[in-house]
Amino acid sequence: MDMPVPSPEILSRRGQILAALQAVLPSDAVISDQVELRAYECDALSAYRCAPLAAILPRSTAEVAAALRVCHAAGVPVVPRGAGTSLAGGALPTADSVILGVARMNAVLEVSYPDRFIRVQSGRTNLSVSGAVEEAGFFYAPDPSSQLACAIAGNVAMNSGGAHCLKYGVTTNNLLGVTMVQMDGTVVEVGGPWMDAPGLDLLGVICGSEGQLGVVTEATLRILPKPEGALPVLIGFEASEVAGACVSDIIKAGVLPVAIEFMDGPCIKACEAFAKAGYPDCEALLIVEVEGAEAEIRHQLALITEIARRHNPCALREAADADQAKRIWLGRKSAFGAMGQINDYMCLDGTIPVSSLPLVLRRIGELSRHYGLDVANVFHAGDGNMHPLILYNANQPGQQALCEAFGADILRLCVEVGGCLTGEHGVGIEKRDLMEVQYAAADLEAQMQVKDVFDPGWLLNPAKVFPLHVTAGRREGGASMAGHRAG
């Protein structure tokens, strides 16, 4: 993935820019030391690295606004950063950009149980939002795998999902309002603890805009009462296609599980070797979780196992209690770690219509043989959000490029069958150059016109989401405007 060439003109003004930031922020909020800056050179897409010009760690909306005014006046690109867990390079800086990290802004500002919302600063981690309300019997539903570390700011930027969004939806379905600072320092309140916007649904377009429209400093989130209980069932099959057909039948039967997770043979073997969860030796495995009161759980599990039996499963295990449930989830939850033990891997995130699952799995197998790279599949089957993991050796010259080409072919396949490039990780830099596969020029132009309104100078996270050749004019226009301001 290419990144824009850093502006020598901005680099030459580094001293002035740092001084201007130090003038409006507390001294410990501006990081300029080259060693310390290395902590901000990448996110979880760690194959790509670049130290920023500086990093700033404000503590309030007012400090964010003051710092953005400085960067705006100086024409410096700003890359917002939550906890740096993006798998798509959403927080990857350029050498001429300032990283704006919200990690120090993590307070709970307000909780109302009768109105079922919580308002937090955006640097708060996903899991600690649930942590703040769990004693009262509530939780925050979106649960990305990185929920222990990832920040609400990043969740809002990427419209993050998780294993349980089949029932509860993703971030955009659970976000009620934000306080956001625009690139020019304007603070805007969008939405609030009530439902639905009076005018245009700006919140809907801000969520998932990958930090390109503004820096979200506070968020009002919907909280839900915790279910009485939840239990999974594990179902093994001799073929992936059969597992796919079983998923479709479960959904069609009117059961709506909270999660349907899928793992294929290579993934099952790796997880078993790593976590020893006691998984059966088979070609495809489903973990289906249902929620509710004891009787309700039993009833739903009975329906699901009845449907599964019609597909001749080679293994079928209902969890009898919380311990067995934990064991069933153990392998799935350690899937990424297990794959990381045996290889370098690239994790994809395309989504497909559930009905295309068998076809797509077969074609991925064919592509795997064509490229000579192994692939393991683990994904949220209920909503068609696939996570093929392509295994490669990063130390072997040419393998990363080969792996990226394989990945691009899989994503093209997802689009071809009526799906999309990314279901929950975001475009970032990773899928940026494939956007023209999914969208026509007019579709992309319409999206960029939204950014033109929020950030006319294209200074916020400018090298992401859209192919660089498509945004070149806008980014250069912003830079020349900035040069004019600085001059």
Partner: protein, 353 residues
């Protein structure tokens, strides 16, 4: 009045390219405000184009009648979970509601409190903007974060940015059973406290409304045994509020706000936080009220010309007049600037009335 009836998206695009004066988009004419302008009817852009029950997905033209969509879903035991309100009697309208109109108004019924709004069930759409461009956004899959979410921006935009031509919807299974509990005789404040207690319980309430003078209602849906179980648990939980009895389903009437139909006066719709709702409504002094969404929504009939916004005082939420002369509330300056900027981008000729 001039009525344009494009039969295809291409024809629509050509009409918009040629248009110079104000254009008012009309689906079935059953819910939006009617602007004095040349009418652009979407009835020609109709038809269900894809329905995959196993993937919970339907794609249909914007001019498709909601009735046709609901009938097709019923055959497969599915439904539009956000519960489309039929406001014809309330607003004194004729016609057949269309998918495009429902999405453009982000129209959601009582189940919005638990499953989300219409916009939460829109997976993708196509629209023609004010320059005649055809734009596609989103798709037909459940999870999609590829690029900006213009689907949400268009949902509820009331035709200000473009004319929706096609929508991909997420649909849900119709549950096996349904039951309703009624708590009679509660004050507005007590009623909303009871609804909040129920919505804060794990018993998955999918409707929570209060009709002053009639009763406070809670809906439970799901597998038959589960409905019976949760009904009993809710009765226990709500015992401190007095009598809790099972009643026949009142939800169609609540969805369509029938309690306020055929009454004189202005009609308002307030979005509130439940804990403030009863006080705000008391300050306004309405003739008749229907609370839905656990108190997060209040429909009001007031004397003609009542200045609802100034009577309401400071509160969290917003208010809109549906029958009466009160204009839309002004937005905060920073929001208004963004709205104006977006309207200029998608409708530079300013033709969408």
């Amino acid at each position: 009045m001039n009525v344009m009836r494009p039969g295809t998206e291409v024809e629509l695009s050509e009409l918009i390219r040629a248009a110079s004066g104000p254009v008012a988009v009309r689906g079935g004419g059953t819910r939006g405000r009617m602007a004095p302008a040349a009418v652009l009817a979407t009835g020609g852009l109709a038809g269900i184009r894809l329905y995959e029950p196993g993937a919970l997905t339907m794609v249909a033209g914007a001019g498709t009648a909601v009735e046709e969509i609901e009938a097709a879903l019923a055959v497969e035991g599915q439904r539009l979970a956000f519960e489309v309100p039929d406001l014809r009697r309330l607003l004194g309208r004729q016609g057949a509601s269309t998918l495009g109109g429902v999405v453009a108004e982000n129209a959601s019924g009582p189940r919005r409190v638990s499953v989300g709004a219409c916009r939460d069930f829109c997976l993708g759409l196509r629209f023609v903007d004010g320059t005649g461009r055809v734009i596609r956004n989103g798709g037909r899959v459940m999870k999609n974060v590829t690029g900006y979410d213009l689907v949400k921006l268009l949902a509820g935009s009331r035709g200000q940015l473009g004319i929706i031509t096609e929508v991909a919807l997420k649909v849900l299974p119709r549950p096996e059973g349904e039951a309703t509990l009624c708590l009679p005789g509660l004050s507005d404040t007590q009623a909303i406290a009871a609804l909040s207690a129920a919505l804060g319980s794990p018993y998955e309430v999918t409707g929570a409304a209060h009709l002053p003078g009639q009763g406070s209602y809670l809906r439970i849906e799901g597998f038959a045994d589960s409905v019976r179980y949760r009904l009993r648990r809710l009765q226990d939980l709500l015992a401190p509020f007095g009598v809790v009895e099972e009643v026949p389903s009142p939800w169609a009437a609540i969805r369509d706000v029938m309690a306020l139909a055929d009454l004189p006066g202005d009609l308002w719709r307030l979005h509130l936080v439940p804990s403030e709702a009863a006080e705000v409504v008391a300050r306004i002094g309405a003739r008749a009220v229907v609370y839905d969404w656990g108190g997060a929504l209040a429909w009001l009939r007031v004397a003609p010309g009542t200045d609802v916004r100034s009577l309401a005082g400071a509160y969290r939420g917003h208010a809109r007049c549906l029958i009466g002369d009160a204009p839309e509330a002004p937005e905060a300056p920073a929001l208004a600037a963004l709205t104006a900027g977006l309207r200029h981008q998608f409708d530079p000729k300013g033709i969408f009335a």
